[in-house]
């Protein structure tokens, strides 16, 4: 029996070997894109950590911004926990089947999930926000360096804490009655947050909470040159990282001893046969919908995307003009569930489906329709939740939100179908931790989609203050452009050489 230090060292060594292996599999154009992408993310974080400090003190003032730091710190943990818990324990460095033949313990799985956590647009944006707010809040001074060291340590601690929490949630979920326990707890927490938001007490509660105030206190010690107190805070952060990191590994081991109940249930349950479909399109839609809604990561992902942004809008008392930014964010998030690699829904069955005598255009259309359905299903609850406190919209605001939704959906569908044909991957979406593409590809897709859809949101945030015709006039060319992209990629899909390349890649 190996001692704990040996096992920890061994887990780090195995994880490093797997990371090297994964990096080695990225070749050619993909390697260049990965290098540029990572460099951009790093530069973005460094710029956010330094540049805002030199912005002139104005509205809001540095103090007004600095008091937000504890809430942002809390938000980082909460969002990281939701992301990791929704995906059943975070991203995987290696597929379950690939790892079976090797003596890889749950510690490697845990470290792999931690290593991949920052390769996520939400994590990077939160990091940029925290570092930027801290830089502006504390202003230009050489002590910004120890202040930002605290921010970086908090980002690491938040990630390890979120990972440990997500393993614990997954362990409960896989236990007896686990699904219902998690649903009940999530419902209860959601209900309390909704009530607090409705009664305008959430802000006060966040202001009063002491959970993350000590992070700001440690930063203030650095700013005031109280180095012993600062060192105490830094030590506490390092201890938190080590303890939550260790607890996470422990819980990952516990999770590995329990079967993934959601997946097992979906694979073993009998599905009642339905009457024969009355058209080819309905037949294809039916099997594509089955592939979507019987996938654990897709179900969880759509539910989370449908609820979380709307809940944040509800809590933040968002106005209708700002709600116009939500359709883009939700659609870009939902696209990452399967849309960016739409043919992976068929898994290895893609080859059999290609032998069926049907026009390729019909298959393409069915897949796009199912993608639109997923986007709409994720978007509707978001808009509904966000509308509760926003009151009755004016015609201009309603037009802006509707046009933003239509533009975001058509843009995302065109982009997804294009990437599905141009850069397919082999992926099995049965497992809760599965993603439709490798981690760096996911980051690249999410950055591109989020960038474009945020821009769409900002444009319609602006047109919400203008006459209705402005929203419509802006939306029309954008929708037509997406339709042209869609038609162009659909015609490329009809090429048997292109189709065979996509299908043989997806089949693996």
């Amino acid at each position: 029996m190996k001692g704990v230090p040996t096992r920890v060292m061994s887990a780090f060594a195995d994880t490093a070997a797997l990371v090297r292996f994964r990096v080695g599999t990225i070749r050619g154009h993909g390697r260049r894109v990965a290098r540029v992408g990572l460099a951009v993310a790093l530069v973005l974080l460094v710029v956010a950590a330094v540049v805002p400090a030199w912005f002139p003190d104005g509205r809001p003032s540095r103090i007004d911004v600095a008091v937000l730091i504890p809430s942002i710190c809390l938000g980082v943990v909460l969002l990281a926990t939701v992301a990791a818990a929704t995906s059943g324990g975070g991203r995987r460095l290696f597929d379950h089947d690939e790892g079976l033949a090797y003596p890889l313990g749950p510690g490697v799985d845990h470290l792999g999930a931690l290593a991949l956590a920052p390769l996520n647009i939400a994590w990077i944006l939160q990091g940029v926000t925290l570092l930027g707010v801290v830089a502006y809040g504390f202003g230009p001074s050489w002590s910004l360096l120890p202040v930002q060291l605290v921010s970086i340590l908090w980002l690491v601690a938040a990630t390890t804490t979120a990972q440990a929490l997500s393993w614990t949630i997954e362990w409960v979920r896989r236990g007896p009655g686990g699904r219902w326990i998690i649903r009940a707890v999530a419902g209860l927490v959601g209900g309390i947050v909704a009530w607090l938001a409705w009664s305008a007490r959430l802000g006060d509660l966040l202001d009063r909470t002491d959970l993350t105030k000590w992070v700001l206190t440690t930063q203030l010690h650095a700013s005031a040159h109280s180095w012993w107190s600062w060192l105490e805070g830094v030590t506490a952060l390092i201890v938190l990282i080590v303890v939550t990191g260790f607890l996470g590994a422990l819980m990952a081991g516990r999770v590995a001893t329990r079967l993934p109940r959601d997946q097992v249930r979906l694979e073993s349950v009998h599905h009642r046969p339905r009457p024969a479909p009355h058209s080819d399109l309905v037949a294809m839609l039916r099997i594509d919908r089955a592939s979507t809604w019987r996938s654990v990561p897709l179900r969880r992902g759509v539910f989370t995307l449908g609820m979380l942004p709307g809940a944040i809008a509800l809590a933040g008392d968002m106005e209708w003009s700002s709600i116009a930014i939500l359709p883009g964010l939700v659609c870009s998030g939902a696209a990452l569930l399967f849309g960016i690699n739409a043919w992976c829904l068929d898994g290895r069955g893609a080859l059999w489906r290609e032998t069926l005598p049907v026009e390729p255009g019909g298959v393409f259309l069915a897949r796009a329709v199912v993608l639109v359905e997923v986007l709409v299903i994720a978007l509707l609850p978001t808009l509904l939740l966000a509308s509760f406190r926003a009151g009755r919209p004016t015609a201009e605001q309603a037009a802006a939100v509707l046009c933003a939704s239509a533009v975001a959906i058509t843009h995302v569908v065109a982009s997804c179908m294009t990437s599905s044909v141009r850069t397919p991957y082999a992926a099995d979406l049965g497992d809760a931790r599965a993603t439709p593409a490798p981690p760096l590809a996911m980051l690249s897709h999410s950055a591109r989609l989020a960038g474009a859809t945020t821009l769409i949101g900002l444009v319609f945030d602006g047109t919400a203050h203008a006459p209705v015709s402005w929203s419509v006039l802006v939306a029309l060319p954008l929708i037509l452009f997406s339709c042209w992209r869609f038609v162009r990629i659909a015609s490329l899909w009809r090429d048997p050489v292109v189709r065979s390349r996509v299908l043989t890649t997806v089949v693996g």
Binding site: H271, P273, D280, R348, P496
Partner: protein, 240 residues
């Protein structure tokens, strides 16, 4: 070369710089079962995929039931039943949903349900007809792939490694189905590395090596221990 239901002449398939099939020719007549034998990477599965209309040939002529596999792909797909070498099943769909989709897209007449139920019974899959295939064992998946390939009683049945990981009862059911296709005048192309089963199921065998056909022989010539020596000799002679 005699004209047949399946005619392959100078087939070449290249994936970028890799030549998967390099000038394969063979033909199979109505009612005939032909085996494609060879080592891993010999080009058997790629040839089968071209015959199924899934990947286009880079060069050469492939005619299936009188249709050009490159230009009349939809017609070829209507006349062919294909069991792919890997998977071949949509993971989160049930066998019955696979059969429903196939019946609809292949325009099968009313009453297809009876044949579907019979096949599922024969291949011992009736109990799992409404469970998603992701939970299936490898052998169950192979058996269902054979069911899907033969379900619409195609003119040409293409079976790529149908015995891989399949139990003896499933193997017997597959052999019986191959015989039934022959009896009704259909053509079977069987790709496998299991020589004895190929000999049992087929009339003739084409031996592939490095993407090329190196010999065509009656299956009986490759039977038993003498046949094994002959088969190994065919492969090794062309290694040099």
């Amino acid at each position: 070369m005699s004209s047949g239901v399946v005619e392959v002449l100078g087939l070449e398939v290249r994936f970028g710089g890799v030549e998967a099939v390099a000038g394969v020719s063979f033909a199979a007549d109505r009612g005939e079962a032909l085996a494609l034998l060879g080592r891993n990477g010999a080009g058997k599965s790629t040839t089968m995929r071209v015959l199924a209309g899934v990947i286009p040939a880079t060069d050469g002529t492939v005619m299936v039931s009188g249709y050009d596999a490159r230009r009349q792909t939809l017609e070829v797909k209507r006349h062919v039943g294909y069991c792919p070498d890997v998977g071949g099943l949509v993971p989160r769909a049930t066998p019955w949903e696979h059969l429903q989709l196939a019946a609809r897209l292949r325009r099968m007449p009313h009453g297809w349900e009876n044949r579907a139920r019979d096949l599922l019974e024969t291949f011992d899959l009736a109990d799992v007809a409404h469970r998603v295939t992701a939970g299936f064992s490898h052998g169950m998946g192979r058996r269902l792939s054979v069911v899907l390939a033969t379900f619409h009683e195609p003119d040409v049945l293409l079976l790529d490694e149908p015995f891989d990981g399949v139990d003896p009862l499933g193997t017997d059911a597959t052999l019986a189905e191959i015989r039934a296709v022959g009896q009704r005048g259909g053509t079977v192309i069987l790709s496998t590395h299991l020589r004895e089963l190929a000999v049992q199921a087929c009339d003739r065998a084409v031996v592939l090596r490095g993407g090329s056909a190196v010999a065509t022989a009656p299956s009986a010539d490759l039977s038993g221990s003498d046949g094994e020596v002959r088969y190994r000799d065919l492969l090794e002679r062309h290694l040099s």
